[in-house]
């Protein structure tokens, strides 16, 4: 096979390429941003959408999944946004700040800008920033996977999003929900840049609401976590939808910092939740959790690369997957340890529970270690519900479906509870029960 042979574009790729020029005139950006967009589109033209012959997408062939590409969603009417916002049930009645992005663009009037400002958090429109002098800097993402196709797609078409900056030392009192919602069908391409200053503390909730029809959501969350700052990010990827959910986290950690995240998947047909964690300062810690549920013929993909480029950092990765029907689960986790990154402590575990004979799990934990004084471990399991446990519960009078729910919940809760953001635990566990009852 000749690796340089031009690819034959699929319908979706042709849609994207054909639509680019018209779209671009409506998309924000300085000259430098425009050049970055062009170059990113060039990558799509040359390589196509990510597909199974690209190692990182071997089990999640977006090219095959996307039969066509929806046009970008158009600006939302404020009343409609309010309606979807009020109807959305993301984190229940949890007391929190909200920042709203609708149909790909920041909606200032529905965001808690003043309340956040009082907490030391400034919020501005990414689309405005892209037109400014520093615009290109926002899209020059720190290290991701090698020329990741999703990030390229995001760079080419990014409509808007928010730039959130937490002042040094600010400890934000309530969680901040980044609400991304749709009032109309169409693709949403969003980038959020979140900078958390030295010794600051921020808890983020990331949610997606509303019907995008066949429009995919491609969102990049780019976190910059300064020295001694703490961030916890809970991502809720839920709801029945036939369109792809393509989500990327890039986190760059300074020294003595902590970044925690939980990616919770239940419902969509095609989810790729990928995270690139980069340690740039010593004595920092990343704790990355995943809880995936998929039924029918759905795909839930959790992929991450944790890059230990400096010594004395810890990372913990703990992922749980429950599959039913003909669903497929994917876990790809790689811990890289650079030659001088001594005293790295990395521990990765992925566990899957298959509720049917036809579900499939691809577990791919990887360690790439070039230093000689490190503690790194990884493990992967796939199994079925233990019949002995099920029998014990049933022998006590608990019907089979209820007993199964107890066991699945116990299995998934291990990750939710270790993540340890107590104010979201109950809501997430209820979502597990709802999924089991209705998927």
């Amino acid at each position: 096979m000749n690796a340089n042979a031009p690819i034959r574009n699929t319908q979706a790729e042709s849609d994207l390429i054909d639509r680019y020029d018209a779209a671009k005139s409506a998309l924000a950006g300085s000259v430098a941003v425009s050049a970055l967009r062009d170059s990113a589109l060039g990558q799509i033209k040359d390589k196509g959408l990510p597909h199974r012959r690209v190692e990182e997408y071997k089990y999640s062939d977006l090219r095959a999944f996307m039969k066509s590409a929806a046009p970008l969603a158009t600006a939302a009417d404020s009343a409609a946004v309010k309606g979807v916002l009020e109807a959305s049930e993301t984190f229940g009645d949890l007391d929190r700040f909200k920042i709203v992005v609708a149909n790909g663009s920041f909606v200032a009037e529905l965001s808690d800008i003043d309340a956040l400002a009082a907490e030391g958090v400034s919020v501005s429109n990414l689309a405005d920033a892209l037109s400014g002098d520093e615009g290109a800097q926002l899209l020059k993402s720190p290290k991701t996977g090698p020329n990741d196709g999703l990030v390229a797609l995001n760079t080419a078409f990014v409509q808007g999003g928010v730039v959130v900056t937490v002042a040094d030392g600010a400890e934000v009192s309530k969680p901040l929900e980044l609400v991304q919602l749709a009032t109309a069908t169409g693709a949403q391409v969003v980038r959020n840049k979140i900078t958390v200053g030295k010794s600051a503390k921020l808890r983020v909730l990331e949610s997606f609401s509303g019907d995008t029809g066949y429009g995919e959501i491609n969102t990049v969350f780019d976190y910059d976590v300064a020295d001694n700052a703490h961030v916890a990010a809970t991502r809720l990827i839920t709801g029945k939808t036939e369109s792809a959910r393509l989500l990327t986290t890039i986190a760059t950690l300074g020294a003595e910092a902590e970044f925690k995240s939980l990616g919770f998947i239940a419902g969509p047909q095609f989810v790729r939740n990928q995270q690139f964690i980069n340690f740039t300062g010593e004595n920092s810690e990343a704790k990355i959790y995943g809880v995936s549920m998929a039924g029918g013929r759905d795909l839930a993909d959790q992929t991450l690369i944790v890059d230990h480029a400096v010594p004395h950092c810890n990372s913990r990765e703990f992922f749980k997957t429950v599959l039913d029907g003909e669903a497929r689960g994917v876990y790809q986790g790689r811990i890289n340890v650079a030659p001088h990154a001594q005293k790295t402590d990395g521990e990765m575990m992925t566990q899957a529970l298959l509720l049917s004979e036809t579900a499939e799990m691809a577990n791919k934990p990887e360690l790439e270690i070039f230093a000689d004084d490190v503690l790194c471990a990884h493990g992967a399991t796939s199994g079925q519900i233990d019949e002995d446990l099920l029998f014990y519960l049933r022998a006590r009078g608990i019907p089979e479906d209820e007993a199964t729910t107890l066991l699945v919940l116990a299995f998934l809760s291990e990750a939710i509870e270790e993540y340890g953001e107590d104010d979201v635990t109950e809501g997430l566990e209820q979502r597990v029960r709802d999924w089991l009852a209705g998927h």
Binding site: Y392, R394, A395, R396, P399, E402, A403, L406, L407
Partner: protein, 251 residues
């Protein structure tokens, strides 16, 4: 209460025949002990009563209060009043003991068309039963049976039995792994549940347990059949002479 007629059963997977024609009638208010050497089919009988699908009944029937027990799912049998105290209680990580107890009690009540328990009512029952069995609240907060010692597991089984108030209690080698003090606590717990409306089947290797839980009837099981039935003195005789005489006499 329980009528077992000509029960034949085998292991479903490899068709090994285990029970070869058991006849046993247990009336309400009675305590029956089943003794027998290893491999005689004692545990298999208890699992078949509870509804474990590793075994296949090839002949015979089991009536539980006149109903065909073999047609019922394990949870239906439990709701109808069948309880098996497991020889090896299973550890269930991630399921808190309290949560499990509440779920089980309410599931059975629901199946019988009764109201679910209020939280205070539930707590009161658990606290009372736990105190009698020397089960600490700390134990109840832990995941079910996880990290419990052998004695704690057996006490937790009897705690479940007390709370679920079954009509038929089957105790499968509840004495195994117990020290003398734990044996007394467990036996006292079992004796408290003895009553005119309740029947018990106590499976054991040793006469020791039967000093504490005095049976009305003792059966000897060998090679899947009951080969001898007598009163509590039969257990003493076995303790003294072993199984060999009785089994040889039957053969």
């Amino acid at each position: 209460m329980l009528e077992i007629k000509n029960l034949h059963a085998r292991i479903a997977e490899d068709e090994t025949e285990i029970l070869r024609g058991i006849d046993l009638t247990v009336n309400a208010g009675e305590v029956h002990a089943i003794m027998g050497p290893n491999g005689s089919g004692k545990s298999t009988l208890s699992y078949i009563l509870a509804g474990k699908d590793d075994y296949e009944v090839t002949e015979g029937e089991i009536l539980f209060n006149g109903e065909n027990m073999l047609d019922m799912e394990p949870d239906e049998r439990a709701a109808a009043g069948m309880f098996l105290a497991f020889q090896y209680p299973i550890e269930i990580p991630g399921v808190a003991t309290m949560e499990f107890l509440k779920t089980a009690m309410n599931a059975q009540r629901k199946a019988r068309g009764e109201d679910t328990l209020s939280i205070p009512d539930f707590m009161k029952r658990v606290k009372e039963a736990a105190a009698h069995l020397n089960v600490s609240m700390d134990m109840l907060k832990r995941p079910l049976n996880v990290g419990f010692s052998g004695g704690e597991k057996k006490r937790a089984e009897i705690l479940q039995m007390s709370l679920l108030e079954p009509k038929l209690c089957v105790l499968d080698e509840t004495d195994s792994g117990l020290d003398i003090d734990a044996l007394r606590i467990v036996s006292d717990g079992v004796n408290k549940l003895r009553g005119p409306d309740r029947a018990m089947v106590v499976i054991t290797h040793y006469q020791r347990l039967l000093d504490h839980i005095v049976p009305d009837v003792v059966h000897v099981l060998s090679k899947g059949k009951i080969v001898k039935t007598g009163d509590k003195d039969l257990a003493l005789e076995l303790e003294k002479n072993g199984y060999a005489d009785i089994i040889n006499a039957a053969a």
